[in-house]
Symmetry: C2
Subunit: 366 residues, 2 copies
């Protein structure tokens, strides 16, 4: 993405927030969730608030980010360096001719304590819970964002292909993770969206296992769930392998999960309720008799964060939109034996979808 | 640390929380900050609430952690698997004969939205902001915790020593970071406490620079700030090097920061106000004429999190206690030229302190 297109999208994004402020009759929006701040301002530091007003936008950050904030945000966003804490900096923006009295905030992105500090520091304002305005706008990706996610998918797939060359009996899960992380970073991943899951043998039945000192053995299942970050955008992929020849039960579980992925991907298109996609994969797993062994949702949105809206699970009440990028990741976990999870990254389109991942889903015997 | 000692410390920690509940006239405490949950229950998953009552403790988590929660928590803590969300699971604990009506929560560890959801799901309870009861107890480390931090310091120092062998002109910051992370993980770091900072040349003047594609050149400053995690406990260290022969200004800045570390360490002992330690390092930097170039605090507590209380800065109003483990990390940042930061990990004791890090602070020319 050229820097000109970043600039265009930043202007467009701020305009869309302002449209929402107008609809909600708000005089401003306090953006405190850092991925939201980054999406609107390009600022990638670890401490920042963005105040969006009808005619201006101001980033409040601290000393550590003085140079970085000026470089990243460009001239349409003013930068204020807070002296003690960010709310003190914010109060100065408001005193210096801020917007009218009703300013929205995202109630999921502010702690009870910070909400109190905000009221104390900036007393003249009516702070209004405004829902997830920015996360909701962020859930529809533009072409530049999709390109970044595709690159993050590519980095993850290349790292996986490379690490499989060194996976063999006797290596520990922790060492597989170290080798995988090395290849992710050397391949261009800026950091990691989450700590990789490397789970072997019966530990693959723990959906969120941390890599441990267990050594891989013959006929073990090996589950790898990990991602890369490119331009701040995440990928997230899962594949499950077998060391040596797969046992019939391993083949059966893998085939079931594979089919569950396929059915969910077939169901994915704009205007479909998210829970229907979950239903599509869950039906396959229930029909195979593993319904009790698939206790999590089918997937989630992906972007600057690894877990975003929309959520694809049995209780979600959202509807897919063209431009959503979501994961599809059903799994079956048999306690004491092992588990299989497979995960694709998919772009929702009108009338269908496009799978952004290319690494084969079919069972590979290492 | 043997598992027997983990068990002992868990019982002791719950008892100390219950003593605080008694003092505060609370009937229970809802612990929602995950490091606090882990400290009390040993549960290391990514979704959990712990309800501490006078006669019991209950961990509420989700399907993904059923086996792990049972393994990690042991029998003194009951485990409830939530069906839809954690507050739903919590409401079942309360209905099933929970404590009296006043239950405390940490207002920094609950979002405004979650506070509302909590009230809706568990309406019969009087939820009371209770301050940072667990973080405050956690700030005093026991011998097992200190041993884990020392091991994390050792892993970080060994990784740094090893990575210096491959640092030379022409390598990118991102590749130095990839090599460093590889050595941290292979050396036993379970994950990373934070994304390593690798900043070279004039970029070392950005206190929180992300490693980029800049290639190291002759006479560059090279700042590395990173840590390891062992048994869940973090280390955090910073060293600044020069590639080739250091220029006089680089020597001067480095010597100033080195002296600032030494003065702060000399000031560290139980019963000393945290701001006096900050003052000790700041005095050195101000006397050298760089006062405006040191805009952050001198250090912070370290444990299951990389930033904990106590905070050592000009505005902090805490007093050091024996058993606090803190970093000392003054820095001087000259925009457009470069910066130097040095960081030690120090255990506060009665009448003095013990530096847990051993890697030399003196300026090393690579």
């Amino acid at each position: 993405m050229t820097s000109a297109s970043v600039w265009n999208s930043r202007g467009l994004r701020l305009r869309r927030v302002r449209d929402r402020l107008h609809e909600e009759r708000l005089d401003g929006l306090l953006v405190s969730h850092l991925p939201d701040v980054r999406w609107l301002s390009c600022f990638s530091g670890s401490a920042g608030l963005l105040l969006v007003e009808p005619g201006s936008a101001t980033l409040i950050t601290d000393f550590r980010y003085r140079s970085q904030a000026a470089e990243e945000t460009g001239e349409e966003i003013a930068v204020v360096i807070a002296e003690s804490n960010l709310f003190e900096g914010l109060s100065r923006c408001l005193e210096e001719g801020g917007p009218g009295p009703r300013i929205g905030f995202d109630e999921q992105a502010l702690s009870v304590g910070d909400r109190r500090a905000l009221g104390e520091a900036c007393g003249g304002v009516m702070w209004e819970p405004a829902g997830a305005i920015v996360p909701s706008l962020r859930s529809v990706k533009d072409p530049g964002e999709i390109e970044s996610i595709e690159r993050a998918v590519g980095v993850a797939e290349a790292a996986l292909a490379s690490v499989l060359d060194i996976v063999s009996e006797g290596i520990t899960e922790a060492d597989v993770a170290a080798e995988l992380v090395y290849r992710l970073r050397k391949g261009g991943s800026e950091s990691l969206p989450f700590e990789p899951i490397v789970a072997s043998g019966e530990r693959s039945a723990l959906p969120h296992a941390s890599p441990g000192q267990r050594r891989l053995g013959e006929r073990d299942l090996l589950l790898l769930d990990f991602g890369a970050i490119v331009d701040g955008y995440c990928s997230d992929m899962t594949r499950t392998f077998v060391l040596g020849a797969a046992a019939p039960w391993q083949r059966e579980v893998h085939a079931t999960v594979h089919e569950a992925v396929d059915r969910a991907v077939e169901a994915l298109e704009a205007s479909v309720p998210t829970r229907d996609v979950d239903r599509a994969s869950r039906d396959v797993i229930e029909a195979a008799g593993f319904g009790e062994r698939f206790g999590h949702g089918t997937g989630h949105g992906l972007g600057l964060e690894v877990h975003e809206i929309p959520r694809l699970n049995a209780r979600s009440r959202e509807t897919l939109e063209a431009g959503n990028v979501v994961t599809i990741e059903p799994g079956v976990y048999l306690p004491g034996r092992g588990g299989v999870r497979l995960e694709e990254v998919v772009l929702v389109e009108e009338g269908g979808c496009r799978v952004l991942s290319a690494f084969p889903l079919s069972l590979q015997e290492l």
